[in-house]
Subunit: 103 residues, 4 copies
């Protein structure tokens, strides 16, 4: 669950699994560095492409995890309050989903 | 806005732009039929691929429109009620988004 | 293998599995019509989205099949001839792949 | 153009723009590190998602560039030779494209 931070500001919804996210991102950073090394060592194109697809999928998993947290926390909360803020939050989430689907 | 149906059941959130959705889907059906005709007439592969990409994009637009309506109505409403139902609705929406991002 | 048509023109590379392609496309057309019916009958958004994802995936499979045929026939043949035509064919194929990856 | 390496082995097709690829990959590595920092600093979910989409798109551009080089060099060359090797190269390229389209 999201909680209120020290100064009454809402803490972001991804707090709960921040460590998990950081670990995934560190692994992706390593994957990208590995791809760079493969290019440097003239590895076979197809093998490099396999690694690029894997890193892309890993980034998508991070995105879906962030989005789930966002819907669970920020959007759910705004919806409970209703009105203009809720409408705006949902429009914003939908735009982010569109960018993901099209990327 | 979604409304209560005759028997107290929630009407689905896409009611408002049902005509728009139906029109888009009819157009996509026509695009797919057109692709079939291009194959039949031995049109150039690349030109057929261009039409397949266009139909895919059009289906994605339908999906994003349905998803936006769903977040605006079903999810927002469940969130306003909170609890287990809200959590389940959001998990369900997130799974649908994952299927879209990965398709 | 591709063959020469009656007037010395190259027959498109997807001839071999034209029936298979047509059958897939007819099935997708039916899926899109089914989605339209679901909207008409006020079916649950998430169930409709599942069908939209399935139709999108089916279109992608058609695209990958067309692309495979194209690489096997048109591109392979142009490459065997070499020169400017080959370069142009490959650039064209790559553009089509970019449209697919981004759609 | 690809060239023969010192010991008669074919140099990979991405040699020509290796510096460009390395630079793109270094930039993506920086983007991923930036996303990690945003999570650390509790930045707003939607802003993080925007950066994740940007990094995903950048990885796709790398993939399309590698694939273009591969088609231009390895596949074109195998096609010019023809036979079993060519068929295998094209099947392999098609599998890599399928992984990209579906990731």
């Amino acid at each position: 669950m999201h909680t209120l931070g020290g100064y009454g500001m809402y803490v972001n919804g991804y707090d709960s699994n921040k460590d998990d996210l950081q670990q995934r991102l560190r692994r992706i950073e390593g994957q990208v560095r590995g791809i760079s090394r493969m290019v440097d060592e003239d590895k076979y194109c197809i093998d490099i492409l396999t690694q690029v697809s894997a890193a892309t999928k890993a980034l998508e998993t991070v995105a879906l995890s962030l989005l789930g947290d966002h819907l669970r926390h920020c959007v759910a909360e705004a919806s409970a309050e209703g009105g203009q803020v809720a409408a705006e939050k949902i429009r914003e989430a939908n735009d982010a989903i569109a960018r993901l689907v099209r990327s």
